[in-house]
Amino acid sequence: MLIRIDIEKCTGCGTCVSVCPFAAIIIKEDKAFITEACTLCGACVESCPENAIIDERGKEGTKAEEFKGVWIFAEQSRGKIASVAYELLGIGRKLADELKSELCAVLFGPSDEVEELIKWGADKVYYVNSQDYTYLDDELYSKTLINLIEQYKPEILLAGATAIGRSFIPRVAARLKVGLTADCTGLEIDRETGNLLQIRPAFGGNIMATIVSPTSRPQIATVRPRVMKRGEYKSDRTGEIINISPLKLKGRIKVLERVEDTSFCKVNLQDAKVIVSGGRGLGSPEAFSILWELASLLGGTVGASRAAVDEGWIPYAHQVGQTGKTVCPKLYIACGISGAVQHLVGMQSSDIIVAINKDPNAPIFNVATYGIVGDLKIILPLMIKKLQEGVSE
């Protein structure tokens, strides 16, 4: 076993038993015992007050000192750089400053906004200005990025946990045999080891995990959009744009057509200032019409919990939560949503949360700025009425 108990030190206190996410530790004859259910996740190691859990998982690896610099992958769509790229520059700048290294952005595909990356904090931009890179071609993107990494050896690489980032970055990690952590919501440097601490929700957001890639470089993470704050914009900041020649691959995929005007494109949850969301408590698909009414009155759009989507009451494009969209509007109104953790992780960074639910014990109230325990059929029409006539100050 690569994780074992020091029987001399173990007091049988049971702390590790409750910490273990896999129920793989039992107390036998007043000592902790690791069973076969152990997945070697290591969660128990730090919990032990007696330091009796010994972690012998491999620590040797690449020469970390050869790798320097923090990189972010800046994705574009039709030449427009995605908002997440600027968020990555925000957190990237912080990490680079802490490591006293440079911050570089990588941009594939033609864009008029290259300079923006520098103004938002990049010291250098590696830029492939070629039409072949306009759309995501996973093989082309990954091969090009792999070449750049092998040439310049960055210590950290961050990409958005978006359709693009989550699709092609795994190929990069696979080829280089380096650690990749998906959908991070927090990133810090471990002062002791210099490793990147990658914090992300696991088990459907029921629990948070800190992941490290101690033996391989670069450390790669995809980062959830709308979680990190942008850095400081300086219109006079200078930096270097390095043009990279495009690769010519045989091209085993071809984007034939890009279709934008479908229903899901109109549901711009991630940019909405106000979201009125509905869950199982609505009771029927028809009930969503009142949410639309309220949303349009507030200048917002409509979201939904997984339960409502699974019931078929509203299309998947509206789903908020771990397996749907992560949103952070100014105002999020949760109607008839109980608040399963997988929903909460998708909306709990909203500025103001209002919860309306008839069950006073619903977990949604734990994250609600304002809670109303009551019947949606009464509360929502009242809200619409009062908003229309105006409430006295």
Binding site: T39, A43, A174, L180, Y316
Partner: protein, 260 residues
């Protein structure tokens, strides 16, 4: 067409709760299920077989009890199932998992590999694309529609964040699928019988010629350092009074905070 579908047995995370006293997961009584996205992957394989003929083989890597999800796939109608099980596979992260599955795929041979978009316990969505890299084949993620299939090419639709794209994909290839693609069929009576009787081969690391340093914990570049409960949010207020009073207070408060 020779199709491999990769599936995973996962705890039903919608049933997982946190013990408020210890801040740890309550796992007792949490059922194990087939990863919901994988049901759509199995269905996609079966529909392709119905259309162009061929064979659907389902594979999973996991402990012996992961066989249950393979039997479930057989009850839906797949032809074959292989369980990749070996103590040396334990502790695998996505890198080692993708390596192991790709070794098995190589041994089986294929025209197309289908995976669910992601598994609901880890939510990484990494194993599919990583397998494609190991196998040196193209892949397309988030497939929401399969428009046409020939021996050498598929035309599919990929769901992106702000649109969808029609894509021509050269075979052999790997796709990961989203739920909109199809509605998984329920098990048939005949399928259930077949599932009960099926003798599912078990392959270990040697059977797929996997190198020790690339599997299980040894082959995993990432490590879980610790786990903790999600942080709570700040100020909370339950509004009281009649529904009218509640709504009026709410609107006033939201105005005060310049939310309206």
């Amino acid at each position: 067409m020779n199709i491999i579908v990769c599936v995973k047995q996962v705890p039903d995370v919608t049933e997982v709760r946190i013990d408020p006293k210890t801040n740890t997961l309550i796992r007792e009584g949490v059922p194990s299920i087939m990863n919901p996205y994988d049901l759509h992957a199995v269905e996609a394989g079966l529909q392709l077989k119905d259309k162009v003929g061929g064979k659907v083989t389902v594979i999973t890597m996991g402990p012996p009890q992961a066989e249950e999800v393979l039997r479930e796939a057989i009850s839906m109608g797949v032809d074959d199932a292989i369980l990749l099980t070996d103590k040396r596979f334990a502790g695998a992260d996505t890198w080692a998992t993708a390596y192991t599955l790709s070794k098995a795929a190589k041994k089986l041979g294929f025209d197309l590999i289908i995976c669910g978009k992601q598994a609901i316990d880890g939510d990484t969505a990494q194993v599919g694309p990583e397998m494609a890299e190991f196998l040196d084949i193209p892949h397309v993620s988030y497939v929401r529609s399969i428009d046409s299939v020939s021996d050498s090419e598929m035309v599919i639709e990929r769901l992106m964040d702000d649109c969808y794209e029609k894509i021509a994909l050269t075979l052999p290839a790997l796709i990961t699928v989203v739920k909109e693609l199809n509605t998984p069929r329920p098990p048939s009576i005949r399928g259930k019988m077949a599932a009960k009787k099926a003798n599912i081969p078990r392959w270990n690391a040697d059977d797929i010629e996997a190198e020790e340093e690339n599997i299980g914990l040894k082959g995993s570049p990432t490590m879980v350092k610790n786990i903790f409960a999600p942080p709570p949010r700040g100020e909370r207020r339950i509004l009281d009074g009649t529904p009218e009073e509640q709504v009026e207070t709410l609107i006033r408060e939201l105005r005060r905070l310049r939310c309206l």
